[in-house]
């Protein structure tokens, strides 16, 4: 049984701003509901009002343009995103990451915006959005702003969204030509499970012999993290194994895994190394 709350489905964004202003901390936004309803049932936080964003048509927009990139409305479901041609064509890292979220049925309801607004350290889409340097478009009565996804997470289940603000869409710039991306996820079962560790990578040839690398991780710190320091190592023109030997100790300093029901701290640290090597070897050879 769920706690008692009012349900409102505003048709316009202005109406939503009013509701957010009026209810403040007592309002929760509802998109797919696959995290929110679980949290309501667990009575983690009991809202007075649940505001369904799905009646706002513009939040269902999904579009792609080489220059502007991929624009994903807050109400677009993960399966719709996965079946959109441009996603698999230009954003394989996003495709691989999103297709590991929940299961097929969950992805029929869940949204990308919900996955990052839930701000779980294990959010599978986050490493992909981090390496793609996505931006989160936010609106409130005071105006609109765009937040780089790297600055979006504030802690476990916390984002930098201020009172009265809502995410309207996520914008993912088209990765440079010739780049290759991928996402590897360690989980306890073959089927649906949260990540023990998730690793997203993007490799782009920068000249004939050197490459730029972007790496990001889920489930190994209070928020999903990008390994900016370690990435610099890969700019050197050396064999991949040597670069990895130099980069991995720096990655270890970026992460701070804990022991929980899904895996131990030491196991997670080891998985980060194994999965990073496996992912980069795959993306490297392909170039």
């Amino acid at each position: 049984m769920l706690p008692k709350f009012d349900y409102i489905a505003p048709k316009t964004i202005e109406e939503t701003f009013e509701l957010l202003d009026k209810h403040g901390q007592d309002a929760r936004l509802l998109a797919g509901g696959t995290d929110l309803i679980v949290s309501l049932r667990a009575r983690e936080r009991i809202p007075k009002a649940v505001i369904d964003i799905k009646a706002m048509k513009e939040l269902h927009d999904l579009s792609f343009d080489e220059k502007r990139g991929l624009s994903i409305g807050a109400a677009v479901t993960l399966n719709r995103l996965l079946h959109y041609d441009a996603t698999s064509k230009h954003f394989p890292v996003l495709c691989e990451a999103v297709s590991t979220i929940g299961d097929y049925e969950i992805r029929n309801r869940a949204t990308l915006t919900g996955n990052i607004c839930n701000a779980s350290p294990a959010a599978d889409s986050a490493p992909a959005l981090l390496v793609l340097e996505a931006a989160v478009n936010v609106a409130s009565r005071k105006g609109r702003r765009s937040i780089p996804v790297r600055e979006f997470f504030a802690g476990v289940k916390k984002t930098v969204l201020a009172r009265g603000e809502m995410v309207t869409s996520i914008n993912v710039p088209t990765p440079p030509k010739g780049s290759r991306g991928g996402y590897l996820k360690a989980r306890r079962t073959v089927g649906e499970d949260l990540a023990v560790v998730g690793v997203g990578g993007l490799v782009t040839p920068s000249s004939k012999s050197s490459k730029t690398v972007r790496l990001a991780y889920a489930s190994v710190a209070p928020t999903p993290v990008r390994a900016l320091e370690a990435e610099k190592i890969f700019e050197r023109d050396k064999p991949l194994d040597e670069l990895l030997d130099q980069a991995m100790p720096i990655v270890s300093k970026t992460i701070s895994p804990i022991t929980d029901v899904r895996g131990g701290k030491e196991y997670r640290t080891n998985l980060v190394e194994v999965l990073t090597r496996r992912l980069l070897q795959r993306l490297w050879e392909a170039n």
Binding site: M1, L2, P3, K4, F5, D6, Y7, I8, A9, L30, G32, G33, T34, I37, V38, L40, R41, A42, V50, D52, K54, N79, G102, D103, Y104, E105, I106, N108, R109, G191, E192
Partner: protein, 156 residues
């Protein structure tokens, strides 16, 4: 708490129900409409036994508020057999013994029906992915996957 009047098409029949905002679609199907095919088990989106089809897509009805389903087409296991004749998927579940206690069967059948509609000749891997969200604690999944593949062969 707000109350809402919602209109649904459930198994081909138009229904109007008054629901409280905090009732899930699963609750309303079971307690207001007496459709007990969708099961209330984990009620947190893990087990998938509350699976129904919403506009022909399989979803977990424990994670949907009833009021969100306003205006949508809902199919439960009760709407799969036509005039007492089992669907090919249902027949193949029987032939393959793809059930023991039967508690997950409505969900597994509905996930399979939806799969075969969007992909009439799936590979074994595609079948496994399609029923990933439905947990069975009796048989293992081999018979279930065999039954779905066999049903696909029958249809094509």
């Amino acid at each position: 708490m707000s109350k809402h009047t919602i209109h649904l098409t459930v198994n081909g029949i138009d229904r109007t129900v008054e629901v409280e905002s905090n009732k899930t679609l699963l609750w309303v199907l079971r307690y207001n409409l007496a459709l007990t095919g969708p099961k209330a088990a984990c009620e947190r989106g893990d087990c998938g036994l509350c699976t129904i089809l919403m506009d022909d897509n399989p979803v977990k009805s424990c994670l949907i508020l009833a009021v969100e389903a306003d205006g949508h087409k809902i199919t439960t296991i009760e709407g799969i057999a036509k005039d007492g004749v089992l669907s090919p998927v249902q027949r193949k579940f029987v032939e393959h013994g793809a059930l023991q206690c039967g508690f997950c069967t409505p969900a597994a059948v509905l996930a399979a029906e939806a799969l075969l509609k969007r992909n009439p000749s799936p590979t074994r891997e595609e079948v496994v992915e399609a029923i990933e969200g439905v947990l069975c604690r009796c048989t293992g999944y081999r018979q279930i996957v065999d039954a779905i593949l066999d049903a696909a062969r029958m249809k094509t």
